[in-house]
Amino acid sequence: MDEVCRIIEKALGVDPGTISMDDNSDTVVEWDSLGFLNILSALEERYSNQVAHIDDLGGARSVREIAEILKRESVISA
């Protein structure tokens, strides 16, 4: 789950350690619609093309939601 936070930090260009599981598109300024595309792209790159087929990710709006979807789809473990 921590790794998801780090991936999002890098995708949004924010300092390491600033994103937590409680963050979402309302709490992170850089997380706008274009920033979200960077997040999706970074997740797809990190998890080697496992992410593109998860339609629900397109509607995710928080770190926790993203992590839960990835866990549900067995892309990441608990």
């Binding site: 274009l34 979200f36 595309l37 960077n38 792209s41 790159e45 593109a52 339609d55 509607g59």
Partner: protein, 327 residues
């Protein structure tokens, strides 16, 4: 009998809307963040009294001005647009008259967006192969700018207006288009949608229930779609053609935006030198994007005689298609 693309011309409206212009209008839009992701610096926008068909007609006149074909020799006119002049009659009928084409011409519209050029080439190929047509004028034109809310940051930074004219004829040489692969997923119909409209040429401020007549774009949803379907389409096309990625000399994808093409290139592990990018100064021009890209690539000597080019269009519908083009 196979078909070939003999000639392409395009027309861009005179009004240019740069990122600087948009930033002055919307100071809270941070183009230091936006531009690196979209790759788009400017887009051409139709005037308030300029219709998509005007752009198509101007592109066609440019094609005829080159003298390669007599307009009276055109036997088929196909027009791809989602910005028709009227609900009826068919806009291609109007264009037939404006261009002074023969009254014996077959003319019809079809309504597709970013996948439209591929579908149109397939129609052209089929009509030539069957012997129905000998000389097809295939037009694509869009004025998505008229559907977009002035405050919609997601859509306004992406889309530009344009018209293209492609002459498709029987091939007596190695030049060809095909094979083709297609796909449709209507469950994504709401990812790019205009729910109602009072007409292509009406001033946006006159519309009732404006939210329904503005374009609604689910950027992340469309992005997920492109990451999933476009690489799959390219792979399916290669399998159908019994070709490998390495045999393709140039990839011309629908010029959606930089981040979309970056991801397709990464997922397919493509050589960047074999990927054409032309969105920087014109943006996403919907069905016009692929023919404009082909024309620009040829002008830049990126496509040479004998080259094998992959074309893939994808977007609103959700709809996608791909074909090979042998030059």
């Amino acid at each position: 009998m196979t078909a070939k693309i003999s000639q392409i011309e395009y027309y861009l409206p005179e009004i240019v809307l740069t990122n600087e212009d948009l930033a002055k209008e919307n100071p809270c839009w941070d183009f230091d963040l936006i531009e690196p992701k979209t790759g788009i610096k400017a887009r051409h926008i139709a005037a308030s009294n300029e219709r998509a068909s005007d752009l198509a007609v101007k592109a066609a006149e440019r094609l005829f001005d080159k003298g390669q074909v007599d307009r009276k020799a055109i036997d088929t006119l196909i027009y791809c647009t989602q910005s028709p002049d009227y609900p009826l009659p068919t806009t291609s009928c109007v264009i037939q008259d404006r261009l002074g084409l023969s009254t014996k011409v077959a003319a019809f519209d079809f309504n597709l967006g970013c996948s439209g050029y591929i579908y149109g080439l397939a129609l052209c190929h089929s009509m030539i192969h069957s012997g129905i047509s000998k000389r097809i004028l295939f037009l694509c034109a869009e004025t998505y700018s008229k559907y977009i809310s002035p405050t919609d940051r997601s859509a306004r930074v992406l889309f530009g207006d344009a018209g293209t004219a492609t002459l498709v004829e029987p091939s007596n040489s190695h030049q060809s288009v095909g094979p083709f692969v297609f796909g449709t997923d209507g469950s994504g119909m709401d990812k790019i949608i205009v729910q109602s409209t009072k007409g292509n040429s009406e001033d946006i401020s006159c519309r009732e229930d404006e939210s329904r007549s503005f374009l609604s774009l689910d950027g992340p949803g469309v992005f997920m779609f492109t990451m999933k379907r476009v690489p799959e389409c390219a792979t399916d096309l290669l399998a159908k053609a019994n070709r490998t990625l390495e045999e393709i000399d140039l990839f011309v994808f629908h010029q959606a935006s930089k981040i979309v093409i970056d991801n397709i290139v990464r997922i397919l592990s493509l050589d960047e030198k074999k990927v054409f990018r032309g969105y920087e100064d014109i943006g996403n021009t919907v069905s016009a994007s692929i023919p404009i890209a082909i024309k620009q690539a040829e002008e830049q000597n990126r496509i040479k005689n004998g080259d094998l080019v992959m074309l893939v269009g994808f977007g609103v519908g959700l709809s996608w298609g791909g074909c090979l083009m042998q030059r």
